[in-house]
């Protein structure tokens, strides 16, 4: 049941109530399209400004640019070293994925397939972690990182991130592995596979859908993080993409609007690109997580 929902969440047979009149349907769709435009508009509007000089913008912000200026992009890129920010974010995402997904997958497998009193108790201890907001522990996390000597380093960011991602993904993996037929494991056992062999050769490949979701959503989560990075990273050299966006907001403000718009376009681009490629998976993954609660 569970693995079916994971594969088909938000993709099932659609319950449609056929409208009686065509006109109301047209009006309805019109409203929906207008609302959708309202969603896209803040992402499109910067394009009006990015190609202009500051002077041109202040005289006629809404006209077409007299001459296309690319240096706003260059300036925005250089102002906050976006290249370095992308690299730092990349390492944080990679670290979070490499730490979270295997740890959660292995633990979820034990909780699903080796159920005993001991593992149940441990599972509830992990489950509790799902309800702990990271906000609560910011102060001790900071102090802990200082003690461990990993304050203001990228591992110092993605290790706590991992800890706060593990409970959720353990729950997802557990319910996924419980949905897999036990006969497969038994067949492998009869063929002489050990505990680890069954997991790596039989169960793990079957869990690919869950693993893909975990990789994708952990990536998005660590890509988007702001608060934890703000607290645990201090030196601008280590700033992730989101910290640099915030830095731009605070240092440069909106006085030079064309450059600001260019920064907005640049910083939104990677997420936009990822979403255009993977929006089916992203929505499906979010729903699979939410429907399970």
């Amino acid at each position: 049941m569970k693995e079916i929902s994971l594969a088909t969440a938000g993709n099932g047979k659609f319950s449609r109530f056929r409208p009686r009149s065509g006109i109301s349907g047209v009006i309805n769709n019109l409203i929906l399209v207008i609302l959708a435009l309202a969603v896209v508009l803040p992402l499109l509007l910067p394009w009006f400004f990015v190609f202009k000089t500051r002077l041109e913008f202040s005289y006629s912000p809404w006209s077409l640019p007299a001459q296309i200026q690319w240096n706003n992009f260059q300036e925005a890129w250089k102002a906050i070293h976006i290249g370095q920010g992308l690299m730092n974010t990349f390492w944080v995402c990679l670290g979070a994925i490499v730490c979270t997904v295997p740890a959660a997958g292995m633990a979820g497998y034990i909780f699903a397939r080796y159920r005993s009193k001991v593992t149940e108790v441990i599972f509830y201890a992990v489950l509790v972690g799902y309800f702990v907001p990271v906000h609560m522990v910011l102060i001790p996390l900071y102090q802990l990182n200082v003690k461990l000597g990993i304050i203001d380093t990228l591992p110092g960011l993605f290790l706590p991130m991992t800890a706060f991602g593990i409970p959720f993904w353990t729950i997802i993996y557990r319910s996924f592995f419980r949905g897999l037929p036990g006969e497969l494991a038994e067949a492998a056992r009869i063929d002489g596979a050990g505990h680890a062999g069954i997991f790596f050769r039989v169960m793990l490949p079957l869990a690919n859908p869950a693993t893909i979701l975990a990789v994708l959503l952990v990536f998005i989560g660590s890509w988007s993080d702001y608060l934890l990075s703000l607290v645990l990273l201090n030196s601008p050299r280590n700033f992730t993409m989101q910290l640099r966006v915030a830095q731009f907001l605070n240092q440069y403000g909106t006085d030079n609007m064309p450059r600001y718009a260019a920064a907005a376009v640049i910083s939104a681009a990677p997420t936009l690109l990822l979403y255009i490629i993977g929006h089916r998976w992203i929505i499906r993954g979010t729903l699979a997580g939410a429907l399970k609660g």
Binding site: A36, A107, I139, A246, T254
Partner: protein, 318 residues
């Protein structure tokens, strides 16, 4: 069937065989395997979650500045906190935020989700993707776009007002006026937070069985009646879940108000999490910051327990 090896389906003879063997000795192979597989997750949680949780409670009862020694001062941090106007403002903002999220975002999301499923056509899939788009945007970028719209003088609204000669609109200070700032930030939040309830409600509405829908149609129910008597009761469980998610989200709210207005002007957009951050990392008052953390934790715990009891009662939509 629990035989210590986690095998659920076994031929009868194998079971007897295994049981006999297990009585003699424990299956150490299996135990070691389980321990190795659980170790990484447990280690991460112990070091970076459970230990910090314990520390939060301890620190919240001390007065400490920076990394120096801390004095035990009982509940003074809490009583100071509850007495401060900033904390009260933050608490009220969080409550107002949760209330308006429920009152505005949920009906909006339901309307969009219902319309999308009711008049399903070629556009629907694309529209759903568009509506969810703002939800995946990182909050720092959302804040950037929010300032882009609401900034004084050069913001989109301000420059539009100038182009149209609407001085009344140009005069509104969206981020600097304490009466308006909350709503400007809330508008930005609605933009990004409505995407999830939309796709979640859609997924729920789509699971209404064909027979129910058809019999409603045969009985001559109008669109409105169908929504009122069938769809809303059907998704009431989902609505309650989203209401709780919004409430817990409000308790943790930090990024948007911090990046758009820094919690100001005065305390107009401050939240519990902003107070925590300012106490801890601006004033270096660890004790008071930890006390705010405990408050956030306890409040969100109450709502999460409520969510769980709803899920128990309502059953999962799966």
């Amino acid at each position: 069937m629990k035989n210590g090896t986690g095998v659920h389906v076994l031929p009868q003879t194998t079971i007897l065989h295994r049981r006999k063997r297990e009585k003699k000795k424990r299956d150490w192979n299996s135990i070691i395997f389980q321990a190795i597989f659980l170790l990484p997750a447990i280690a991460f949680l112990l070091v970076f979650m459970y230990y910090p949780i314990e520390e939060t409670f301890r620190i919240s009862l001390t007065r400490s500045v920076g990394l120096g020694d801390a004095d035990f001062i009982g509940f003074q941090n809490y009583s100071r906190l509850f007495a401060s106007t900033e904390f009260r403002a933050g608490f009220m903002n969080v409550l107002a935020w949760a209330f308006w999220s429920i009152v505005i975002q949920i009906p909006l999301a339901f309307f969009i989700a219902f319309s999308l499923t009711a008049y399903r056509n070629r556009l629907t899939g694309t529209l759903r993707a568009v509506y969810y788009l703002a939800s995946v945007m990182p909050s720092a970028i959302v804040a950037m776009l929010g300032r882009f719209i609401f900034a004084p003088r050069f913001g989109v609204i301000a420059s539009l007002a100038e182009a149209l000669n609407w001085t009344w609109l140009g005069r509104i200070d969206f981020l600097g006026n304490p009466d308006i700032a909350f709503w400007s930030v809330f508008a930005v939040a609605t933009w990004t937070y409505t995407g999830f309830p939309i796709v979640y409600f859609m997924a729920n509405i789509e699971q209404i069985p064909m027979e129910i829908r058809e019999s409603a149609q045969l009985d001559g129910a109008t669109q409105g009646q169908y929504a009122r008597y069938i769809v809303i009761p059907w998704v009431s469980y989902a609505i309650r879940i989203v209401a709780i998610i919004s409430t817990v989200g409000s308790l943790k709210l930090f990024d948007l108000p911090w990046l758009i207005t820094s919690g100001g002007p005065v305390h107009a957009t401050t939240t519990l999490a902003i107070i925590l951050y300012k106490q801890g990392f601006v004033n270096w008052q660890y004790g008071r910051a930890a006390a705010v953390g405990v408050v956030i934790f306890l409040l969100s715990l109450i709502f999460t327990v409520a969510q769980f009891s709803i899920q128990r009662k309502g059953g999962d939509v799966n």
